[in-house]
């Protein structure tokens, strides 16, 4: 039983990370109907920027672990958001009127550009996060020793997802994002500046993806310039699992994928981890092609 709960908490933490990345895919898809293949690399950029800021500013020493990591997270989010906005400006906006495939090719190009830029700057080897930023203590929950980092990752991702949900549902910009996702031209006729909506989506998504990169660095301690590929693929799977374009869907899909993967790896075989994740995807798509929360509202004519 102990093994089960350890794997469950591990899965929840990884799932939180997947969910944060998946939100970026799903929001961009929702508004632009584009799979932003460079999103996984924005996640990697987040982890590398986190490492650089952590070592060069020694925030943890100056502000203490809690405030240090918080400031670091905010800085990473801000910087990756700027990279995301630049990406939209340079790689996607000029192709707004082109066939959709052109933007997909541009996305793939941007992905290659980012991962190679990281390799040139930081080198191809694994980079190691400094140890002991967050105290390596375990928190006792119902007689179960859970590492603090796991709890923090899960709590932080849930908190950010709640904040995003509130933002999308309740604020003016959030409503504009939802409207533009349904019908861009109709949104324009409501007086919504769709270019601004798209810019916002490319600020929020990368910010969440970037902070997920920082979390991976803090959690696993090792980062590599190619890791955005597999994390991106998993998060993309999570987004499809939940129903692409659907924000709560990305959250549910991410958490679910993390848990299934962790349990599968523990009880079946570690080597089958990725196969299990994609097996779940195939199964869900056969049973519910629109994903778990994907909506099908019949249009009345």
């Amino acid at each position: 039983m102990e093994e089960f709960f350890q794997q469950l908490t591990n899965g929840l933490a990884v799932g939180g990370i997947y969910a944060l990345i998946a939100l970026g895919y799903t929001m961009v898809y929702g508004v632009l109907k584009l799979i932003n293949f460079a999103h996984g690399d924005l996640f990697t950029i987040g982890s590398y920027l986190g490492l650089t800021l952590l070592t060069s500013l020694s925030l943890a020493d100056r502000l203490g672990p809690a405030a240090g990591v918080l400031v670091l997270a905010v800085m990473v989010m801000g910087l990756v958001a700027v990279v995301g906005a630049l990406l939209e400006r340079v790689a996607y906006r000029p192709l707004r009127q082109s066939p959709r495939l052109s933007a997909v090719v541009s996305a793939l190009g941007a992905s290659i550009f980012f991962s190679n830029a990281l390799m040139l700057i930081y080198g191809a080897r694994f980079q190691v996060y400094p140890q002991g930023i967050l105290p390596k203590v375990a928190v006792n929950i119902f007689g179960l020793d859970v590492p603090l980092v796991r709890i923090l990752i899960l709590a932080a991702s849930v908190l950010m997802m709640l904040a995003l949900y509130f933002f999308i549902q309740k604020t003016r910009i959030g409503t504009a994002i939802r409207a533009a996702a349904i019908d861009q031209d109709a949104a324009r006729l409501m007086g919504i500046d769709v270019d601004r909506v798209i810019l916002f989506v490319f600020l929020i998504g990368p910010a969440l993806g970037g902070v997920a990169g920082l979390m991976v660095g803090l959690h696993y301690g090792q980062i590599n310039f190619t890791m955005g590929w597999i994390y991106g693929l998993k998060a993309f799977t999570a987004a499809i699992l939940g129903g692409i374009g659907n924000i709560p869907g990305a959250m549910v899909g991410g958490i679910l994928l993390g848990v299934v993967e962790a349990l599968g790896a523990a009880y079946l075989s570690m080597a089958w981890k990725d196969a299990i994740a994609f097996g779940v995807l195939i199964f869900i798509l056969i049973v519910r092609p629109t994903g778990l929360l994907g909506e099908r509202v019949a249009e009345k004519v």
């Binding site: 409503t175 349904i182 006729l189 019949a298």
Partner: protein, 236 residues
Amino acid sequence: MLQLVDLRVKYGNIEVLHGINLEVKEGEIVTILGANGAGKSTTLLTISGLVKPASGAVYYHKTSLHKRPPHKVVEAGIAHVPEGRRIFGTLTVQENLNLGAFTCRDAGRIRKTQEWIYELFPVLAERRNQLAGTLSGGEQQMLAIGRGLMSHPKILLLDEPSLGLAPLLVKTIFQTIQEINQSGGVTIVLVEQNARAALKLAHRGYVLEVGNIVLEDTAQGLLANSDVQKAYLGGG
């Protein structure tokens, strides 16, 4: 108040409006008649900025609109109720109306406008928390018009409001359009296939044929015109 001057519009290489001139005065209902593909919807889309003209101009109170993005046109006071209604089906009726008021930041004014819309279309008030996609066709049209009015426009562009509706409903909608014009003081540009109903409502009308304005007259004049009767009123 609104003026189209020698307006030419191209989709790709195909010119669909060959330099049309059109004028709308304050307080009027102006109708644009024409067959399918004559360019009626394109005319409205060009006014609201979703389609950019190849040449020519759109003036609103002597300021040019044709270089502005659509959201600036809405801010200027022109609301467009598009063909096919284009409501946000997965949002509630209330959320749809809120979106209509996107450019308006005065909460008191929004509330007043909304009360007026719920008076015009009581059924919308009953269904305010329902998803808009579950409304009947007629209710969706009412919602589309209500949503357009939420921005407090000076000019309302209506594209085929009677499309696909039962005759009785068409009558109700047209009565409401008249009310919006008379008691609401909103100038209306009405594109319609139902020429007889539109001409009964309108002050003046234009007849559009394959991208050219071929006729321009008062509504009575057009109703009495034998060419119009033959082509658009089923007479002969």
